[in-house]
């Protein structure tokens, strides 16, 4: 297993370098003078020169890339032009929200998707199967943001006055905010990597609540996240349901399942212990691929529900031509995506010994 892990980690290296290279090149490809694009049409030549010097844009492109790599190694992603703050600080502030949404959506899509798929496969060619598959087909064809808006309309307006009413926007109710953990612990002068980690922890509601014990804010934020998570999770849920159905149907036709039944195992055990273990491999692949869908969906849904995550910040940054922020965010998301796919690969090895020993 450790050899397998080592090989996979080694394979990750060129992809990571490629990701960094692409994010570096993307910004260099912007047509026109970087000074004019960043400072605007009316920038004076003197201001321009100072700007180019400050960001080292006058140097050779290889020198620039070397410095870029070095800075990333030091955890420096540049400074936002729009917010005049280090991009790392913005990432620490915005990333947790997006991750919370993605994780919750992943939980929803996996649990509901597998459940629907199993039911569909077991009740093959019945009304339940047909209805589930129609829902799945419609589910994969819906725009995420449209579903989000419809959910907001139904749960915030139509169901007003019932116990099912849910908030349609924001991360918390008015007057609620997360306490910074550094402040909570009475720490002063936290800088660098330590500050980044503490900020990340402070802005993750669940972790914050563990330390501060303020669970009221946890439930409040959870309530705000239900609608966005359902919206983000629906397309992946539909895809997982379809995959589970076909994968399970294929496995159920195999001889060893007949053997398991013939030796008198009860049906739930046949499904959960024997069939699902083999059916899970394609399902896990799909979950890995869908993480990209979830992250993109989170970015879109944040704008619908006015959530202060990476998505809203990125759209704002693009409209303001704030390239360091776009660059940093795209890279962070790509790294998360690559790491999730690594996890998926590792879970294959867990599920299928043949891959481990290959």
């Amino acid at each position: 297993m450790s050899q397998f892990l080592g090989r996979r980690l080694l394979l990750l290296l060129p992809v990571m370098i490629g990701v960094i290279l692409i994010t570096f090149i993307i910004v260099r490809l912007i047509p026109g003078d970087p000074c004019v694009t960043m400072l605007g049409e009316r920038a004076t030549p003197a201001k321009c020169e100072a700007f180019l010097d400050r960001y080292g844009l006058n140097d050779n492109i290889f020198v620039q890339f070397g410095r870029y790599l070095l800075n990333i190694g030091k955890g420096d992603f540049g400074t936002s032009i729009k917010w005049s703050r280090p991009v790392v600080d913005i990432i620490a502030e915005r990333l947790p929200m997006t991750l919370e949404l993605t994780l919750l959506a992943m939980l929803f899509s996996t649990v509901v998707g597998i459940l629907l798929g199993v039911v569909s496969a077991l009740k093959r060619n019945t009304v339940i199967d047909t209805i589930t598959m129609i829902i799945a087909n419609i589910g994969i064809s819906m725009p995420v943001f449209w579903l989000g808006l419809l959910l907001a309309y139904v749960f915030a307006l139509l169901l007003k006055g019932t116990p099912f009413v849910l908030p349609p926007s924001g991360r918390f109710s008015a007057g609620m905010a997360l306490q910074n953990l550094a402040k909570f612990w009475g720490m002063t002068n936290v800088t660098g990597f330590k500050k980044f980690i503490i900020d990340l922890m402070s802005n993750t509601v669940f972790i914050n609540c563990i330390f501060t014990g303020n669970w009221k804010i946890f439930w409040d934020s959870l309530k705000h996240l239900i609608l966005p998570a359902v919206a983000v999770g629906t397309i992946p849920m539909a895809i997982i349901a379809r995959m589970t159905r076909s994968s399970l149907l294929e496995v159920l036709g195999l001889d060893y399942i007949r053997t398991a039944r013939a030796k008198g195992l009860i049906e739930p055990k046949v499904i959960s212990k024997h069939a699902m273990r083999n059916a899970l491999i394609p399902i896990v692949t799909i979950i890995g691929i869908e993480t990209g869908e979830l992250l993109s969906g989170a970015v879109l849904t944040e704008t619908v529900f006015s959530l202060p995550g990476m998505g809203t910040a990125m759209v704002g940054a693009i409209l303001a031509r704030d390239y360091p922020v776009v660059q940093g965010f795209v890279m962070v998301i790509a790294v998360i995506f690559v790491l999730v796919n690594l996890l998926v690969d590792l879970s294959y090895a867990y599920l299928d010994p043949r891959i481990r020993l290959e």
Partner: protein, 309 residues
């Protein structure tokens, strides 16, 4: 005797069908394939005849209406003295129904053009990589790996941020992020048939590399490309709508469905029809391509169609 004669004629008829006729026959037998064809046929007709179907100009600002008026349909009890607007009026006093009718043109164009672009470039990259092998293959495929390391919509957003906002740039961005899928597909097909005997025979007979590649190898990739391309159109339409929704795609006042929703997302509580109808249009279009793609996959796979008989 008559029975066997009928059987024989049936068999002869079956044999005389070309493969593409066979696929079409299976497609019409396939329930989701049929549903996809029906939805898309209607949509294409709507797109072609948009000027005759739409009662108003999609970008004309109407004078005698209020902004964000709800739908007014005469047979459903809307007073006869009011002009009929079956989907209501949008935030700029335009007829929503006409805008949605015209929007079908944009969405179909976006889907088909972006996928055409991605298939063309992807095929070239995949064919060169698979056919040349060695270092060229390695470099091209690692590049594809890196492109696939980004969630596709996010990479498209990043590309748009570089190219600038606009529908053409959004299409280009979506096309670029779709290339790796097709490149991989074509490469794997090329690799799987490159060493087969009929290809070697063609080489022995003095076929030029171009002839071998285009006449002998690439026809094998057509089937999977058609299936993946059809499903890809669905994704491209969704992604383009998403970019326009964020304000990074189609420019105002184009009747683009995603843009229409983006413009009115804040009036979801006061004028939900402005969000519901464009979204419904996107959903039906995407559903059509997804169903057709499913149907094509099942009817083009000889193993499935044979066993399905």
């Amino acid at each position: 005797m008559a029975d066997t004669l009928a059987e024989v004629t049936e068999e002869v008829k079956q044999k005389s069908r070309t493969p593409s006729q066979e696929v079409i026959r299976h497609l019409f037998k396939h329930s989701s394939g049929r549903a996809g064809i029906i939805i898309l046929s209607i949509l294409i007709l709507i797109a072609i005849f948009a000027p005759w179907i739409a009662p108003y100009d999609p970008i004309a600002i109407l004078r005698d209406v209020d902004r964000r008026d709800p739908p007014c349909i005469h047979i459903l009890g809307c007073p006869a003295d009011q002009p009929e607007h079956i989907f209501g009026i949008d935030g700029n006093s335009r007829d929503l129904y006409s805008r949605i009718i015209y929007g079908s043109r944009l969405s179909l164009q976006v889907g088909i053009i972006t996928m055409g672009f991605a298939i063309l470039i992807g095929t070239i990259i995949g064919a060169v990589a698979g056919f040349a092998g060695g270092a060229i293959d390695n470099i091209l495929m690692r590049l594809m790996d890196v492109l696939m390391a980004f969630p596709s919509l996010l990479l498209a957003i990043a590309i748009v941020s570089v190219l600038g906002i606009g529908l053409i740039n959004a299409m280009l961005a979506i096309g670029i992020v779709s290339i790796p899928r097709f490149a991989r597909l074509v490469r794997s097909t090329v690799l799987s048939v490159k060493e087969l005997e009929y290809v070697q025979a063609s080489r022995a007979l003095g076929g030029s590399p171009m002839h071998i590649l285009f006449q002998r190898i690439l026809p094998n990739a057509i089937t999977p490309l058609i299936v993946q391309g059809t499903l890809g159109i669905a994704t491209a339409i969704l992604d383009a709508a998403a970019l326009s929704f964020l304000g990074l795609g189609a420019e105002k006042p184009r009747p683009e469905w995603g843009l229409m929703m983006g413009e009115e997302k804040n009036s979801i509580f006061s004028a939900p029809h402005l969000v519901i109808f464009p979204g419904l249009a996107i959903m039906l279009t995407v559903l059509g391509f997804n169903l057709l793609g499913d149907g094509l996959r099942d009817s083009m796979d000889p193993r499935l169609t044979r066993s399905g008989k």
